[in-house]
């Protein structure tokens, strides 16, 4: 999926879905991105790693998207981990909103994928 300011790419590694968000997430596109993300996760998957390394902007609309996503996956007993490099400007916003309570932050995507795969086995 793509819009004027963001792009979503979805991949799969075993039973883990890897979604990479690129660009900016604000009130103009967060709801649509959330819907698109939800469609990409089959019930058979163990969980989702959301790679936010390419996100240049994310505000409370994006935070809301993450919380909803975590709640939805949790209902289906699927796990959500976020991949956010330490130096990402987004990280502080995520921490202020304590997203880590529902979706642990990892430094790298492969680590996040491994954690979900490990916890499932």
């Amino acid at each position: 999926m793509r819009d004027r300011i963001s792009q979503l790419e979805v991949d799969r590694e075993g039973d883990v879905i890897i979604a990479r968000l690129v660009g900016e997430i604000d009130g103009s596109n967060a709801a649509e991105l959330g819907r698109a993300l939800g469609e990409q996760i089959p019930s058979s998957a163990h969980g989702l790693v959301l790679d936010l390394g390419g996100v240049a902007y994310l505000d409370s609309a994006g935070i809301e998207l993450l919380f909803r996503l975590a709640r939805r996956l949790g209902d289906r007993r699927q796990r959500l981990r976020l991949s956010v490099p330490t130096r990402s400007p987004v990280r502080r916003v995520l921490e202020i909103c304590d997203i880590g309570a529902v979706a642990p932050l990892e430094e790298a995507t492969d680590v996040a994928v491994a954690r979900i795969a490990d916890s499932a086995s």
């Binding site: 900016e24 409370s60 202020i96």
Partner: protein, 730 residues
Amino acid sequence: MLWTGRQAGRDRHPGAILRLRVFDQRAEVLGERQRFSGPLLGRQDAELVIGEAEGAIDAPDLPPDDRGDRAKHLIAGGTAIGTVDPRKPVDVDHQHRERVGVSAVLCQQDPHPLVKLGLARQAGERVCGRRAGPLADEPLPDLGLDVAEDPGEALDGPGERPKLTLRNIAAKRLDHQRLQRCEVARYLECGFAVAQPAELADPLDAVGGELELIAGDGTREAAQDVGDQRWPLAGDPVDGDFADLGEGRALEDVQQPSLCKLLTGPPRAGDTGFSAPVHVRPTLADAPVAMAGTPARGQRGLRLDSQPPTTILTDVADNPTPPDPQPGEAGTEGARPGATEGEGGDAIIGATLEGLRRAAQEVEVERSVTATLQHSLLRERLPEIPGLSFAARYLPGSAEAEIGGDWYDVIPLRDGKAGVAIGDVVGRGVAAAARMAHLQSAVRAYALEGLRPSVVLERTDGFAQELERPGMATLLYAVLDPEASALRFASAGHPPPLIVTPGGEILFAEGRSGSPLGTVTFPSYEENVVSLAPGSTVLLYTDGLVERPTVPLADGLAALADAASEVDPEPAELCRSLPARVLDGRSSDDIALLAIRVEPVPTDGVQLTLPAESGSLATLRRVLGRWLKASGAGEAEIYETLVAVGEASANAIAHAYPAGDASFEIHASRSGDEVKIIVRDFGSWRAARGEERRRGLTLMEQLMQDVEIDKGNGGTTVVLRRDLENGAGT
């Protein structure tokens, strides 16, 4: 061109007079032409056929026992397509009617041979026959005349004259009456004049004129005798000759609706026929007749000129299957083998007004298609990208009207950047425009993928090589980052971008250019980054602006730089005035221009009024981000400030009433190290709903040092403050 017919007895008659008259509806003579004809009419009865003239007349369908008889076959393209009986109207076999162009019938009435000349085609239908020569594949143009046969006037006996009425059908579509002049070899000249019958529902309903072709023995008396006796409609015969109209005074002077009536001469026992082509050579220039339907080019018209006599005579009767005329038997002056003449470029039968009009229309259609295609490809409205301003211009080539394959494009990218492209497809016309369309789409697609310029060029080159009709093209693609004030570009054989600095300095972006698209199997494209001070203008252009025959490219670039230094670098003004200054009256190839200015960053602050809709948030970030960066804010400071302002703005958008028709304002200023940003809306404050809005408030408070919210009656004002620490925001 060929000529078949009997040659026997050709010396018996010195010549003939052809007279052409045009009358108006009151039977007043509007014009007349007469011309003395050579000894052709001294032959046995002749049948002239104007139709396909390629090769010799081969008349396999011609019943042998008809040859030499009075009833002759109308022959076109080597096929007998009808019969000509001097006693009857020309009868064209129904299935062949469309093949018949012009037919002229010569009947000899010893000692006063008559000429019958007609145009045979099916009423109301399009034409008949084909052009000969190099245009053989093209349909014969509409001659615009028709033959209406009047079976009721079939001859009962000698002395009766069957009539052929020539109806101008095509004239209904023409604004002006038209003139067709045909010359048959050197011996005959005849013409048609047809006036516009626009006001007549059916031109046949009005007897408006008469075309009288009389062949005599060279004396006027003989010719006029015939006319006087036989065609009272003509009124008093005009006692004039060809000179009455004068060569320079064409029949287009005839303005009245008129019909042409062809009158055949009285048949005589022993009449036989000739077949001969008529040369009709169209010329576009110096046209006496303006062509209707030809758009906007008043001087384009048509003249049908006589063709110098080059005809060959063969004897149909003596050569039952004469695919190739025998030069030895072609005893007349100027006789040449028909095949040779048929290949002559100007030996074109029936290339008439209608045909030229059609050809002109084809050119117009092609032009129109190309122009439409190109127009649809060139963005009329360039996208709005905060921090950048654009202008573009396309100038069609001045030398030839055909449109080339130059194009430009502006593609908004994510993160507030802009992809800009300029390209030049080699070639012209529809084909070039179509290839340009392909390439432009490819560039846009790759650009939207966020690919870097060098990769965009590589991919586009691969794409270009897969095109069904590959060809060379130059292309320059660049990514402009208004926040970083940088131009990152790669070039496939395209002239370098010109940069006008805020101080007025002119320079060309340095960087190695790779091979043009479609020329190398595995090209590699170097990427170059040019830093642009805010206020700089970048000009992308195609080579029409800098390339001139015999002048080195470097000189062309220097001339461009000189000219650029003399004009206002504001994009629209640059596009408007630069070409004229560079070209200085010279004609040129197509030129496409795309000018981009990196807007100066206001140092004192930012004031913005934006629509109260979520789409404004990105614009706000672009503008404010540039200002913060220019104010010395670090990356994290910029981001966090933008999030805080974004939250306040999201509130303003949520408060907007009426929705979709409201706006909000941003005032950003700096005082010392402190930046102050005021977000003001004019709606009514609503208590934060849901976690999202509460998180928004939290973020503002966490990310900024001071947040004030004033919920007044006329709207809400949020004031955000933060001290900049030059990148130490976190």
